[in-house]
Point group: C2
Chain length 331, copies 2
């Protein structure tokens, strides 16, 4: 477990979206070796940023409240960084439809700001971009591999895909080493729990813990693929530390597809609380629903030696335990 962290010893590391779910969990791993971490976060209301996420490790890192869309700030901040974990983003599928300009501004232009900053002021940085399974859209075959065509069903997916392409183009043309992870649905501690617009599994955990009713759209038979956040963090760290990853994209996955309804039953069982109700699909959800999803992660397994270690059972237990203990900081 320690080897891949050794690459980060004494290095300068920047994490955009650093106070959010993935960013803060990544920081929790990185502080295990001495290194210089700066978390960049715009702390936009209703997004995932939460100071409590880094409460226990705040002495070991710096925080800068800044937006990746801010050219002047990014031009300064990228200077001297060895690694940039580029995670900041608008992450709601539904919000990308109701405000496509905001999604474009953050998820496309914001990433371009970061890349241009690197081109001008630090082309030596290695960038790890948080892409998404949402780039694929409806699948032509399952499990999906990286060669699958991308036809996103919503504006979020289009702009995330565009930004992934920007990273790959800057890698190829300017030699700014960049790699993208097409991240699966991810759950675990330090996710925002105030609404269900993204991170639906975490949202369901909240409902279950409050002994509420979890609404399932349709029959709930669509297949889903979930990763526990620690596994995703490890994938990001392996991608950052392995030179082979530059210019590449990698799927993450669990290898254990599960029906959506069974997942919810598992949450209720583990939480020891909550009920299920099946309701018809609301139009705005049905419009962007992608159907069955399962990822083939053999590429990252082979090239970077990553595979998920945390079972759904174990991950749910850890997650529920975390939120029971820290409820007041997330509810």
């Amino acid at each position: 477990m320690k080897n891949y962290l050794e690459n980060y010893r004494n290095k300068k590391i920047m994490i955009t979206g650093g106070l959010g779910f993935l960013g803060s969990n990544l920081a929790h791993s990185l502080v295990k070796v001495p290194c210089e971490i700066i978390l960049i976060d715009a702390m936009l209301p209703l997004y995932g940023g939460n100071y409590f996420n880094i409460e226990e490790i705040k002495e070991k890192l710096k925080i800068e409240i800044a937006d990746i869309r801010d050219k002047d700030k990014m031009n300064e901040l990228v200077k001297g960084q060895d690694y940039i974990f580029n995670i900041a983003g608008q992450v709601s599928h539904l919000d990308s439809m109701s405000d496509p300009f905001l999604d474009l501004d953050i998820n496309a232009r914001g990433n371009l700001v970061l890349l241009e900053a690197c081109r001008k002021y630090n082309s030596k940085a290695k960038i790890i971009y948080a892409g998404t399974r949402g780039q694929y859209g409806k699948l032509e075959y399952v499990p999906v591999d990286e060669k699958h065509k991308m036809e996103p069903t919503d504006i979020y997916g289009v702009n995330k895909m565009a930004a992934e392409h920007y990273h790959l183009i800057y890698n190829r043309i300017y030699g700014i080493r960049s790699a993208s992870l097409r991240i699966n649905n991810t759950y675990g501690p330090r996710h925002q729990m105030k609404h269900g617009k993204y991170g639906i599994l975490n949202w369901f955990i909240r409902i279950a813990l409050e002994n509420g009713t979890i609404k399932i759209f349709g029959d709930g038979n669509q297949l889903r693929d979930y990763n526990y956040v620690d596994d995703v963090v490890k994938a990001m760290l392996l991608t950052g530390s392995n030179e082979k990853s530059a210019g590449n994209v990698y799927n993450l996955g669990s290898g254990k597809q599960i029906k959506f309804i069974e997942l919810v039953e598992e949450i209720i069982k583990t939480a020891g609380n909550g009920k299920i109700e099946k309701v018809p699909w609301p139009k705005e959800r049905a419009d962007i629903e992608i159907g069955d999803y399962a990822a083939d992660f053999s590429k990252i397994k082979k090239e970077l030696n990553w595979e998920p270690k945390v079972s759904l059972d174990e991950g749910l237990k850890k997650t529920i335990e975390f939120y029971k203990r820290n409820k007041e900081h997330y509810w």
Copy 2:
């Protein structure tokens, strides 16, 4: 020839980029039937807009100088339109690399402004989007069909691709009938002739007419596929008038691939002037070069009954004739 034009009789038609190359040639076809045409153009310096392009038909249409990025203007202009030919754009591959933000702003955000305007004020319009072969990037197989993966080599290609996806998403989710043509290299009358940043074939025609030296990068053996502008205009009109096209993308092509060097020899022969010099690839061109390109256009042939009619020989003659006659308006 007249049938597909009949669909536009007495209709309201808006053309973005209407004073440019494709837009103005399209207008020249449309005025053959009585219809209400409005050309929208931002007349950005160095872009393709040219009042002379519509000099002979200016009594038959309206012109509005407006930018597709202007929300208020677009919200007003789309009202009541039956057809929107959405052609406006930044079209230089090289400029998209030197100023990626401008390219993003026009080619991604601008198209989103237009689509949002339609969603709010005119969801009945049929939109025909001018996509590009540049969306594919380097080809995995030749000729390329519409199922080929899109991995653009430059920012221009990424943003044009993103905008195509926006159109398809607005078609699927909001029922705004949209179709995209992945337009090939196109040449012919009414193209800007002031620089060679886009429309290289037209630029070479100018050099030949001035008895200058046409510089070929490398050996010039890469395959290219060219369409004469009248064929492209016909494809746009067929796409607009056929309901089957909604939600679809179509390649255009000539069916006659030609080596770049042979094309230049043909220009010199037809112009009766000009010389060739082979020079090494400049880095910024080599970076975004896509290699051989040839398009499979069997989908549009089958579904919309389109095929190119104008041979390279004939097209070059017409083009050279046009510029000889109208030099002062383009040089």
